[in-house]
Every structure is written in C-alpha cells, then in structure tokens.
Amino acid sequence: MNAPLDHNATVESRIEALSDKVDLLLDRQRAMSELVSESGPILTAMMDAGTRGLGEWEERGYFAFGRSTLRLLDRVATSYSSEDVDELGDAVVGILDTVRNLTQSDVLNVANEATDVLHRADALDPVGVVGAIRKSKDEDIQRGLAVMLEVLRTVGKAAQSDSGATPGQRRLASRLAPSGRRAARPVTRSAPRRRPAARSASPAAAGGAPKQAQGGLARWACVTIPGHALDSGGFLVDPQTWNREFAVLMAAEAGIGELTDEHWQVVDAMRAHYLSVGASPNVRKLANLSGLGTKAIYQLFKKAPGSTAARVAGVPKPVGCI
C-alpha cells in the first residue's frame, strides 16, 4: 500500500515543481507581450521625434554633405595610395607648424603694425630713390632691411634645394599643385568606379524612358493646342481647363478624325469617372462605363485607346504606382 502512495507523492511534488516553472514561463510570456504592446506607442513617439529631427538635418543638407564627402573620400581612396596619404599627413603637420609660427604674438604684432601703416598710407609722402637712400639712415629702417634680406636669402636657398627633395615629396607636390599641372596624371582611374548605373542621373535614364514607351511618344512634345497646356506625353496638364473644342482639336491631333456620338459617349464616361474617383479608368472599365464594350473602344480610339481617349477627354494618362 505504501508504494502507490509514495508514487503519488512523487508525482505531486513533481507537478508542484513543474507548476512553479509554468508560472514563471507564463509570467515571462506576459511580460514579453506587455513589453510589445507598451513599446509600440513609445517606439512610435521615438520614430516621430527621430524622423522630425533627422528631417531637419536632411533639409539643412547635412546628409547631402555627408554623401558628397563619402564620394570625395572614395575618389581620394581610388586615386591615391596609402603612402600618398601618409605623406599628405606629414605635409599637414608641416602646415600646422607654419601656422603656429605665424601666429606667435611677436610675429602677429609685426603684421598688425604693418597693416596699420597700410591704413595710414594716404598720409605718407611719396619717396623716390634719393628719398629711399636718405631714409636708410633711420635705424629702424636699417633693421627692417636686414630682416628682409635674411628672409630673401632663406627663400633663395630653399628654392635651390628643391631639387634635393625626396621623389615622394616631389610627386606629392605635383599632385597637390593646381589642376593644370596634373591634368596628365592618371586620376581618371576612378572614372569606371563611379555610381552604379541604376542611380545614374536623369540624362541617361531620360534617354531610356521614351525608348521604352515606344509608339512615337516623342511626337507629343511638339503638339500644342492654343489655350491648353499639355505635358510631354500630350496629356492636358489641368483637367479642369478641358472643353469640347479642346476635345475636337485633340482628336484631330490623335488621328481619330471627327468625333461621333459614340466617341463622345466614351469621352463623357471617362471624364465623369475621373471627376468622381480621381483616377483615369482603364480600357475595360471604360468599355463598361460607356456601355460600348472593349472591341468598340479599340475601333473608336485605334491603337492604345486608353491613352488616346484620356488625351481627348483631358484626363491624366492611366498609370501604375511607379
């Protein structure tokens, strides 16, 4: 009799232990689903704020600047080796040294006083060669001359030893020189690595689009109907400016000839649909709306009747979403 009891007790204790775990699991599950439903609104608010903030950056041009900088970096990386960049780094250090020397207070004082003189230039009397010799007796002028001559000597020496620079330095100098001097350098290396074709700018794509469109769409760019602005596909820009005279003129342009009652039936149905729904009906819908059937629409409006009827009815061309 003891054995089953023991057994029951074991099962009971196991179930108890298990139920604790189930409770824990359920608790976690509840916490998770709470997290999901709580974080929804928070995320929405964060996205809102983030979108607004980043939108401002976009508007100020931060990202456009960043993208151009990346493109610049890409060009630098493709036309210079890492050695060149290291040398450029040395040069930058040199430039910084120069800037530091130039901005020492005594140098700046000299420069400031020199500019003062320039400001007072009007008040100074002109000096000829004799005058200059006379002025050279002045001690300050003599000191100034000594300084200028020393500077001249240094510049002359540096100019002579330019040939003594390392080949790397000379190459760098030539690269850094104004564009005319390095036009012959193989910078064009970067050309094939430009943007991928998919993002190519409009000229190329604009060339591709009409090719796709076929059907002599280009012809419509030259068609004008007095008093009505047309887009490049021959569709009325503002459907509100449509009138029956326009339809007659457009039908002639589209090669339909005289508009019969059936044509008008289609045109009126098309306009009514556009004005109520805000989208141009397709051929099938037009066939139903006008009550004439698809085949008749083709007979009335010839090739591409959807577009042709839309031109005559002064509504936008039927489009997809992209």
Binding site: T44, T51, A209, K302, P305, S307, P318
Partner: protein
C-alpha cells in the same frame, strides 16, 4: 449589446478586429469576423514561392491564431448583405445583424474572364502566382523548365501589388542565372500601360533596370484572347505575343459577396470615400483593403495604414462625431530585384515615389527608389512582423500618413 461585423479575416479584416477589440467596451460591443475558410495566406510570400524561396507551409496559418480574445470568428459562406435591414445573410439561412459593418473582402482573380485563359494549357504552360495553387504549380514547372520564351502579362489594371509582375521578372532573371540557363530564357513583359515605369521619378531612377535584366517590353498591350494551343496572347489591336511559358496576372474583381449584395461598381469594388473610408452608399458600412475602389495600390501596407484611420473613424461614428478625413493613400512597398537586393517605395495619392531614406531621414536603414541589400532583408524580416505584430493590431512605429522627411524632392 451592439454588433460589429467584419466581412473577411484576411490582412485588413484581422487587423481591424484586433484593433477595434482593444478599444470597444466588451460589455457594449460584440466583434464578429466572418470568412468562408479557415486558412490565412501570407500573400507577399506568393511571389517568392515559385522560385522555391518559401514553401506552402511557410505561408499558411489558421485564421483563428490571429484573432484575439473576445472576437468571434464565424467560418461560413455568406450569401448577401442586406444594407437596408442591416443584416448579413449566411448561405445556411442564418443571419447576423450589425450596427456597424466593415467590408474587408479583398479581391478575387478571374482567369475565366479572359477568353481562352482557362482553356488548354492552363496550369501546364500558363500559370498565375496570385493564388496558392497557381504559385505552387508554377514552382513545380520552373524547377524542371529548360528554357524558352517566358512572358509575364498583366491583363488589365487594377491588380493587387502592382509591382509584383516586375518583381517576378527580376527574380526570374536571377533564378535562371543561378540555374545556369539564363541564356536559354527570353523574358518578356506585356503590360497594358505605356511602360514598366509610368511615374517620372521612378522611370528616371529605374528606367534602365529592365534593360539591365534583359527584359523585353511590350507596352499598351490589352489581352483579348489567350491561345493556349498555339501558345500566344492576342491583343485587342490584333498584335500577337507568342510564349512558351505564360505567367499571367488575370483580371481582378472584388468579392462575389459584394456583387450579390449590389454594393460594388462594375468590377465589384465598393465605392468608398477616399479620405474617411466610409462607403459612399451607406453610412454604417466602412470599407478597407483591396475591396475598395480607391485610386491607391491594392497592398497590405495600404490596408495597414487604412486600419489606423478606420479604427479612429469607427470610434467617431459610434460617438456621433464627424469622421476624420485622414487617409492620404499612403502605400509602402518592397520591390524584389533579385540577387539578394530590393527597392523600397513610399508614396500616396498625391506624391509619387521619390528617392531618399526610410524611415529615418538620412539614415534609413532602407533606401527609397534604390536597390540595396538592406531593403531585401527588410522584405524577408517583414514576414515575422506580419504574423506577430501587424495582424495582431500592434502599433508599428511607422506613421499612417506619408511623411516627406527623408525624401529628396
């Protein structure tokens, strides 16, 4: 007790039921969802199914999984809506009365409406990929197909997910390249529109994509007859497009229930106010998702953005307040371009798809109107979001109104 009845437990209906159940007091309102069958299909996956990127089991789950506590799911075919009597009559004779009705019955494809399409060759050399059966049959066909002339054809607009036929072509290009038979396959796109890309910014950015993928374009082609024996499409203008394998997007109509209830237009789509989503004919009927006649894309993202506006508007309607004209036609679609990349587009009634970054300006991580790997990962990751967040009516951190921030206009 008042009754809210939703017709259709697809993407739109399921979202609406879950969102409304959270905000309608349980003591006052019952929420009933009606559908004719038990399976919820992840429709974006149907595009990837033919290429073996998903299998059927990935895309089907029971509708009941996604309808939370306090929502009654009725699986029964409906006969018609009697809008005057405010009841939905079921085919078994029972009727459900409603105080507010939401129509979310989506679309049906109608291959039978094109002469010859359902005739010889249907599901042998001519397939659709808008149904589970079509997409699966196509998967089996593509596995063994040795090449030839593959024509993708849109019979007429509107269609669900208007970019899907293009995506199919891009994925086919990559699929056959990977199988090593791309040079044996000719890809043709026959569309009733005047180009694959009809909006200026998209054609500027993507115009040469078809050329890159080696797709031949036949424009303004309106299919009249499919000759399954001779293997060719014949247009109303008597042009012919021959094919070895036809992947067609058949005509789309609204649900037959809408037709029987005389609530739809000539294509059985329900005339709907474009900013409030109230039906034009009846104040207590609201419509969202593919079932509307609105001039925006028929896509899950649209249903999602509509659901947010409609939840608010149903509360307003019940409270006797004016409806908010807040729906702006916002749509957001991934376009798979093959080889692990995709494009993302974001647009509404008045703004065409523009290049930029989404959702965070300058950062993204998604690129608008531009191919990127991240976009493709987003598409793949979306399946989890769909099953676990979107259908359950959770808030996603994407505004239902399109924002211009991040777009380069």
């Amino acid at each position: 007790m008042k009754n809210l009845v939703i017709l259709g437990a697809g993407t739109a209906g399921t979202m609406m039921a879950n969102k409304l159940r959270k905000v309608l007091p349980r003591a006052e309102w019952s929420v009933t969802v009606l559908d004719r069958d038990a399976d919820h299909i992840y429709q974006p996956g149907l595009l990837l199914l033919p290429f073996g990127m998903y299998d059927e089991a990935d895309l089907v789950r029971p509708r009941s999984y996604f309808l939370g506590d306090g929502i009654e799911l009725r699986l029964a075919p409906a006969d018609r809506v009697d809008a005057e009597a405010r009841t939905v009559r079921l085919k078994d004779g029972e009727s459900l009365s409603y105080d507010v009705l939401i129509i979310a019955t989506g679309t049906r494809i109608a291959p039978e409406a094109t002469q010859g399409l359902c005739g010889p060759g249907w599901m042998e050399t001519a397939f659709d990929f808008y149904t589970l059966e079509g997409a699966s049959a196509l998967q089996r066909k593509l596995e063994e197909w040795q090449g030839g002339r593959l024509v993708v054809n849109v019979v007429d607009m509107p269609i669900k997910c208007p970019v899907a036929p293009l995506e199919f072509l891009f994925l086919a290009d990559a699929f056959f390249a990977e199988r090593g038979i791309r040079d044996q396959v000719e890809l043709v796109y026959a569309t009733p529109l005047d180009g694959a890309f009809t909006k200026p910014r998209a054609s500027a950015a993507l115009g040469d994509l078809l050329e890159q993928k080696g797709v031949h374009l036949v424009t303004e082609f309106n299919t009249e007859v499919v000759d399954g024996v001779g293997g060719k499409l014949i247009g109303y203008d008597e042009r012919e497009v021959p094919y070895d394998l036809l992947v067609t997007v058949p005509l789309h109509y609204g649900s037959r229930l809408v037709q029987r209830s005389e609530l739809g237009d000539d294509s059985d789509f329900v005339p709907t106010h474009k900013h409030t989503l109230q039906s034009v004919a009846h104040r207590d009927i609201f419509v969202l998702g593919d079932a509307t006649d609105l001039p925006t894309s028929k896509a899950g993202s649209v249903a999602h953005f509509q659901a947010e506006v409609l939840t608010e508007n149903i509360l307003r309607f019940i409270g006797g307040r004016d409806l908010a004209p807040d729906f702006d036609g916002h749509a957001n679609c991934f376009i798979e371009t093959g080889h692990g990349k995709a494009i993302l587009i974001d647009f509404n009634y008045t703004t065409e798809p523009l290049p930029g970054r989404f959702p965070l300006p300058g950062i993204g991580p998604f690129s608008l109107l531009e191919e990127s790997y991240v976009n493709h990962w987003g598409k793949l990751g979306f399946k989890w979001m769909y099953w676990n967040l979107l259908l359950r009516g959770e808030d996603l951190p994407i505004d239902h109104k399109m924002v211009m921030a991040g777009k380069w206009s």
